[in-house]
Symmetry: C6
Subunit: 267 residues, 6 copies
């Protein structure tokens, strides 16, 4: 199996907010492990796809979860139609053949996973496959990247200090109004004026964070709203469907959010 | 295996309460993921069956529960009479061949399941089958729909914000008196007058919610009552059997509910 | 495998206490799911055996417990002497071939089990066997019956509202003195006078419920006592062995119970 | 496999304390399930061995524990040298071929075990082997006996009322001084005078129960002490080794116990 | 497999502190189960090795831990290069062929393990191998010995009374100064004067128990210190490496311990 | 399989801070088990690599984690392409063929692992492979080394005293300013002046420990910073990326850390 299926051939749309591209490129040249920090839906996944495209290196993404084990990452013997075969996991594929391995929300996994990546993140750059009697030395093009949402961590579920210290970190946040409007217009095929209105709505909703709302509308939700509008729904209904209803269950929070939305639509 | 067994050939009876059909159709045209929100037994399952029939797309329903794993959705190697074979799970069937996949009460499942649906709910529309060495790109007719009952969530068991934000949401509630009476008459084969009386009883019981009753009588329970009446039981016995007894264990709550019922039967 | 082994050929002795037989027959004609509610040992199991005999339909009883999984009900591939074979579970047997499936104390099981029965309890009447690639439509003679002891439920272990609402419910309680004495005389082969004395003892013990005794003597225990008497034990020793000793560990509760018993024996 | 290995050929030494033999024989003639209640080491196991010998019925003893599952009792398919074979568990052996099945400390097991025995303890007397596609009807000589130590139960681990009510119960306690001395002399091969001294020591230790000692010396411990004496140890050392050291870790409890012992040895 | 590998051919060095050898020999002649009680590293393992050598009986030692199951002790079917074979566990080896089976820190295991040893510790002396369809009667040379450290037990993890009562118990403590100095000199190849100084240090450290130190230096640690000295390390460095550093993390406890040590080295 | 792959052929760069090399060599000559104690990233792994190179003995490193089992260390039967084969785990490889086995953060594992190493850490030096029917005596070149970070232990997760007492311990801490600057210059290829500035920043950050920072910057992080500088990033950006961002989520801790950094850069 080659990694060609993991190469990104079309440029993913990405609008930089600061020096993140230069910083990532410096870390890449040293093959230092990188941690992308920031809230939900602000563009971390899109950024790493853009960088993989720019650096012409395959990208293997793993959505982590709390039932994931080290074997899910590293590989295992499987019984398939042809008998027992060793099956490289996604991390091993990246280590062996050279790719960026992107572990999304790595903090969700159990400790055995974080321990597995330690020898890949220091001078050794090795991955021991104990069950396969093999010690894989990382391909020169291998790099490890993880994402991390500080708002989600708790005392009982956080990366260990000894893991954090192995990574360079780049911070992400919601884009500026202008940048975000450009993204919404581009991705939802709506007029710039509508995109600007949607960004205003998004900004208002983010101001309600902590006042009953766990998180404001992400850029992704603004794009969803625009797509419903482009399908002919009135803006009010589209905002209700793609922003208000998904994030609120409480009637008074919903009322506050609706009022904020209304204010943006009739300025 | 084709999905023909999952096509709905007879129009499921559905009485719209608002704009839900137009909103769903807009989301379908954009293939946006949709969340149906609302209380028990108010018609969410019937609605999605109606939409699948209307859009002429197969419907694969999965009743989620807390012991469900990602493999239950995605598939696994099974040992059957013919040896080891790969077996697509219901989600993979829908993704590969084009169907609406309806995950009922998805919040019951563990996180590994919600993580599995993430790459299907953004621009990528892919499903990685890591154990089968395959990356399935979604069929153009694939759409993901989930149900969500806000009254059931708790602090320890709720959808993550990063999941909720990926869905458009449509709200459902009990139908209006008129609509509900029409449904009961149609489904239980009882006279309109009896249906109206049953709806009045249902409405009374819903007013007792929070006063000892966890939930009032659903439309489904009113239909059950009607069916017992159509089999010759007196209304009092039918109401007792299909409404009062199932939802109450406490004698005084039962008394309050019976009094409310009595008031409806002898107006 | 046919279900003949599950047919009940001899009439099980059952003394009705109210309209329960007529109600059950109406629910059966509509094939509505039924919940039998009531305390331990008051005759729920005997009732369903009687109804199965009366309706001439096989009865498959499953004693539920907290380690029971959906596979225990639905079936699984088993490796037996002949290789790998699919093995229908008891629920699937009933659904496929037509029987009353009686899930005794269903609240003990885990949620995956209750979710499995949902599509069998609404208009769909289907049972998806995902691992067997099969969607079983219920035989016309299939009916689902569950038992439920309200006294045993707790906040953490109760049927979900969305499950309860799918069932008609019939309430059971201890039989009247006369009926119970007839049962005891019939089943323990003792004289009517002795049966009446035993019923008086049972009634006394039930009055002690909540005063140190979790539950009073069930009809079953009165029958046991009678059977020991019929084997020649003096009544005092028989009552002690079959009633007092099994239900009490605390000396003063035992004394109170013994005093109550004594009062019945020397009226 | 026959049950001959489970027949008891030599009369086990047993000194009755009351009517327990007559009561058990009455229950046996009716094949009623029996519960033996009483503290540790007071002779419950010896009693059931004696009764099995007296009634000439094989005895299958199962020491229950909290990791025991229903399959451990009922049986399972095992892969052994000859391939896959069904293996009857100890309960099934007793049910199928006719034996007393004695479940020692049944309260330790999980609920799935107690549920398994329910259909064996009422009029049905059946054992469904679902995985073996078989419904075993109990052999006429099958009887179920369990032991139960009330002092060990707690709120979270107790037999359910619906289980307790299925059993007749016989109470056990430490034997009288005379009986116990006879037992000690007989089993430890010591002179009656020494046996009487040991019983006095045992009685003293039981008076310390609840004053730092969880339990006093059982009859078994007195026998152990006698056996060490018969091997030439001085009585003080023997008492210390077989009674004082095993039951106490706290120095002052040990001192109190030693003083009590001393008082018995130098009366 | 014979047990020759488990025979101890060279006399293990052991200095008795009291009557423990005579007591153990009496228990051995009666084949009574024995419990060795005492703190960490005070010589329990060495004692049982000495007794096994003296009695010329093989010794099978099992280090117990909380993940150990009954199968680990008793045996299981294993799939190895030659197919499926039954594999006797260490306890079964001892029972079948005659050996002392020494369960070190048995309290760590789960209850299923302690239940397994019950029928081996009373008159029956049998071990039922249910999965192997076999009932092993103990070899005449089988004896069960367990170790138990009272300081480690807690309310939630302790031997059940019904288990403790089955054992004779022999208490162990740190040896006297003289005996300990002889042991250290013998095992570490150091001069008697150095051995005496090390014993003085050990005694001081034990006085700090409960004042920040969980346990003082064991005899084993004094031997380690001596061995480092015999390799040329200065005594201060050797004491620091083998005593102070391993047992203390808190700076002030370390200071107190170092001061105590210093006082011994410059008397 | 030989252990050649585990030999270290190039001298790992290591700057001693005290007598740790002499102490380790004395322990090695006696083959005493050694514990390396100290905080994250201060050079314990590098030290053991250096010692293995110096002593010309293979080094097998195992990163421990809480899901690791005894089988992961010791070995198991695996089914691979050729059938069932026994597979030595990393500890068994070291014991059998002679190597230093380094268990990194051993406290993370479960108790079954620590119990496995006990018979390797006393006079016996044996490893029982119960499932392989084998008792491996340690190769003369086998030595066991573990690491231990006192700051990470808690009441519920710590090495047992009976384990700690089996090890000699050597303490590690951050290197002196001079030594650390030499390390940074050497490993990051930066000028000595920059290395000194980075060490000053590291020292400042360690002073913030306990004031919002769990741990200050390790030597490893200073090297990372230097490597980013050597790739052309300005020092401020490099420090932010490799030190500030990875260890802080709280804005005010980040501000305090940035101020401290600023002070070092503009002295």
């Amino acid at each position: 199996m080659t990694l060609d299926a993991y190469r990104i051939t079309d440029e993913p749309y990405y609008r930089p907010a600061g020096e993140e591209i230069a910083i990532f490129e410096a870390a890449w040249r040293e093959r230092l492990p990188v941690m992308l920090k920031g809230p939900t839906g602000c563009g971390k996944t899109r950024f790493i796809e853009h960088m993989a495209w720019k650096l012409k290196v395959p990208l293997i993404t793993v959505a982590c979860h709390e039932d994931m084990t080290a074997s899910d990452l590293v590989g295992r013997y499987l019984i398939d139609e042809t008998g027992t075969v060793w099956h490289d996991g996604p991390l091993t594929l990246a280590v062996r053949h050279g790719a960026i391995c992107y572990l999304d929300e790595v903090v969700e996994t159990r400790q055995d996973t974080t321990v597995v990546i330690h020898p890949l993140t220091d001078a050794r750059r090795i991955l021991p496959l104990e069950k396969h009697n093999e010690l894989v030395r990382a391909h020169p093009d291998f790099q490890l990247v993880i994402s991390y949402n500080p708002g989600y961590q708790s005392a009982i579920k956080d990366l260990k200090e000894s893991t954090k210290q192995r990574f360079c970190a780049i911070g992400f946040d919601y884009p500026s109004h202008e940048v975000e409007a450009a993204i919404v217009a581009q991705e939802a095929h709506v007029a710039p004026e509508i995109a600007r209105q949607l960004v205003a709505i998004g900004t208002r909703s983010r101001n309600l964070e902590g006042h009953g709302l766990a998180e404001g509308a992400s850029t992704r939700m603004l794009v969803h709203t625009g797509r419903l509008i482009s399908q002919g729904l009135p803006m009010g209904q589209a905002v209700d469907t793609a922003i208000v209803m998904p994030v609120t269950d409480e009637p008074d929070v919903r009322a506050a959010l609706s009022a904020a939305v209304q204010a943006c639509m009739n300025p």
